[in-house]
Symmetry: C3
Subunit: 332 residues, 3 copies
């Protein structure tokens, strides 16, 4: 394994192997496996789980990390090709990324969507421009429309909890004061489809996932025996659900238009997951969320603090799966 | 030992054991003692000594650290229970703290007082709300009215310098342009009382330590054979002092009222420790301060740069005692 | 070796030994050489390469680092002696530096020029005030008019590429929207002179390096058999050049006067290194730059992306030479 930038690059068998490795490292730690190895972490955007879990995972395998956060102790990085750099950014990614890569054995990059041009974001051009500069092993720590570490952690969580492969996985839009990126919903839909689940994407009008994202999920479902549908009707979506995966994201019909998005989303403030959402789900339906979650805005306290919530296990599994990813990239 | 959040949780014998362990690790390093262990550090407030000494101490025992600083590369954390999170904070401590705890073997948390409601700050409700979420070993890196790592470092410093247990320890308020928290004065008074010293708290009118804090110190003194008194008269307080522990803190009669505090403290700009303060002290009276100290505002250059000052030894002992704390929490 | 703060403190033989050690550690890693050792890094100014390469280098030798960045998670540090500290800075370097030094085995400090008073900056008084507080091994991570780690990395790069010692090294001023410090041009001119090269400093009128800096370079050249000249005529300077070392710096005739500097530098926006600069150079003339570089402002894409550019090797050599420096300071 040379890069971990998209679950779609791997077969189900490869994912299964990675998850087995994660479980093995959990039960049989290898505290010297990556001794002397260095992980470079480049955060173009903020982080809590990723920052802590990547450093901790590397440390538990005997390795070391350094963290670079442009704009915090480091100047801004320019990402546009051929830019005349007379603005704020003092360094171009063409130098910055390659230099950081030369200081480490594996590089992790987080670079959110620009949130202006949907086609550009869906193409992952920003992340790929950076990735293509790197010959080292590379990890996608969240890009414009992908978050493979989260997706793998979610997959492991579903396996840990023995959620049946052939069961109903509802990815539901929930309210948030601002437009958030498409990375997690895109990755979660694809992951569940690849796992063979029956995926229903529930979202208000205006918040449909882009066609290319839907197509990716459907392709994965076709291979796994799962399915992918979408609806704006909560009652229809939630009936029989085994998992509700709550997530906030931005308007796609007016992508990048903050005013239009704000007007539209204001109508859907009631899309906050509370106990009533589970009236017609499977009895043991789980609540998933990648975190951070705004309590009583996106999900109610009663759900997050109740037995359905598995959000802490998802977060913990960031550590376990990332250890497996680091191990595969550096050890094998 | 499961937690280190308050010296009052320990007997004098337990403190004595911890200090012996600190001395042993100083003279007989154990560079592999905590190999493979991970320390998580959550700083809700700024730090220099704590940030550097915790990381260094963990490293000297063979372990590793990660640092999370909300507002710097990480979003703000919400601390209020039942909050409707439609403001700036993107994540609640109920998730944030538990997630970080799941990535490490021991968690350190720094969370200063809110500085608005005295009863709330004295109750340590903010810190305890966080501490109660954590099942891991936990270290208080400074809470609203406590700073046990500093207190233990100060205790070791007094022992290192063979300051007699039965001698006069003057905790003196000194000037600072702004109100500072009660954590260090509260912890220092309690520590000296617990060590069996005769504690005099010298402060202008309006700056008396809260009754609950005084009571804690008096309880400790009753057990140790020490004593605790307070006064606003410098001459009376300083006579025969073996230690002057200088510290800035906020007005308690108008707690949280910046304007009233500013008006009051302006009258006491002359409370800056210079050589004249030592006119009637013991000949070898020491100057202590937890740092950072504003030179020529709180303490004069002539004192800080003279032989009485032990502030650098206090700071160095942060490292030695914290190594003992980490060792006890993780190794024993 | 006790300190690494200026190449001028070392003989050519000592530098040669350091470069050999760097090459040896490159080909024969010693991942346990500095086990248990701690590097403290104090960044008074921003960094990318230095931050990442110092941490990575320490890790590759088995050691650990901590990073302190005043103003980011740590308050500002006061540097003026005898200051009455009633402003923003909460801690004086007299305490801050000594405390940090007491937590580590080797301390690195970055402190840029104040950029106001040329004589003061050239005297390195700010850096030396800090350095003189430290008894530990110490590394200069860039001071007002020096950057010895960069200079040593550049030296190794020239050696790696077998650039003849007796060849023409042109240090050329290039355009930048703002005045930048004199540290790198001063260090690069001195390094090339010490290596025995024929150094030509090319800069517009108003941007001559200060006499004391020129004198240092000439002294080095006298000892090595090299030479140092300066000119404002590009055609004359570039003819026969074996290396063009591009660097931005501030006006020295109106040092610290932003308006005068801006007016003057605006006239020289065309000082951006493009392919035309190599018309009369040696055929295999190299382009060097310490990075970060503003593309198409200081150096054109066509040069940075072409075969002449060795900027990535220079940056990579920060890692290799710093490992040698750390090794010599801590191991020998």
């Amino acid at each position: 394994m040379k890069r971990f930038i998209d679950l779609a690059d791997f077969s189900s068998e490869q994912i299964s192997d990675l998850l087995k490795l994660a479980a093995r490292l959990e039960s049989h730690p290898e505290p010297q496996a990556l001794a002397g190895k260095v992980l470079g972490l480049l955060f173009m955007n903020p982080s809590l789980r990723t920052l802590a879990s990547m450093q901790s995972g590397m440390a538990r395998l005997g390795g070391t990390s350094f963290v670079i956060t442009p704009g915090q102790g480091t100047w801004q990085l320019e990402t546009r090709l051929n830019a005349v750099m007379d603005g704020n950014a003092a360094e171009h990614i063409r130098e910055g990324i390659q230099v950081l890569a030369s200081y480490c054995d594996v590089l992790g990059i987080r670079a959110f969507a620009d949130g202006k041009d949907l086609a550009s974001d869906v193409s992952e051009s920003k992340f790929l421009d950076m990735a293509n500069l790197v010959e080292n092993p590379l990890i996608n720590l969240e890009s414009a429309v992908n978050h493979p570490c989260q997706a793998l952690a979610d997959w492991k969580t579903l396996d840990d909890l023995q959620v049946p492969k052939r069961s109903k996985f509802v990815l539901s839009w929930v309210y948030h004061p601002r437009a958030l990126p498409l990375a997690v919903p895109s990755a979660a839909a694809h992951m569940a489809a690849m796992r063979g689940m029956d995926v229903t994407i529930l979202r208000p009008e205006g918040y449909a996932l882009p066609p290319a994202i839907m197509e990716r999920a459907r392709t994965a479902a076709a291979a796994s025996g799962g399915s992918v549908t979408e609806t704006s009707e909560p009652a229809e979506a939630l009936e029989g659900a085994q998992v509700i995966y709550a997530k906030e994201w931005g308007c796609t019909t007016h992508y990048g238009d903050e005013t239009a998005d704000a007007t539209l989303r204001r109508r859907h403030k009631n899309w906050c997951v509370d106990n009533s959402w589970f009236a017609k789900t499977a009895e043991d339906c789980r609540l998933m969320h990648c975190l951070p979650v705004r309590r009583n805005v996106a999900v109610a306290d009663e759900v997050l603090d109740g037995p359905r919530s598995v959000v802490l296990r998802q977060a913990y599994n960031r550590l376990t799966v990332q250890m497996a990813i680091l191990y595969r990239l550096l050890k094998d």
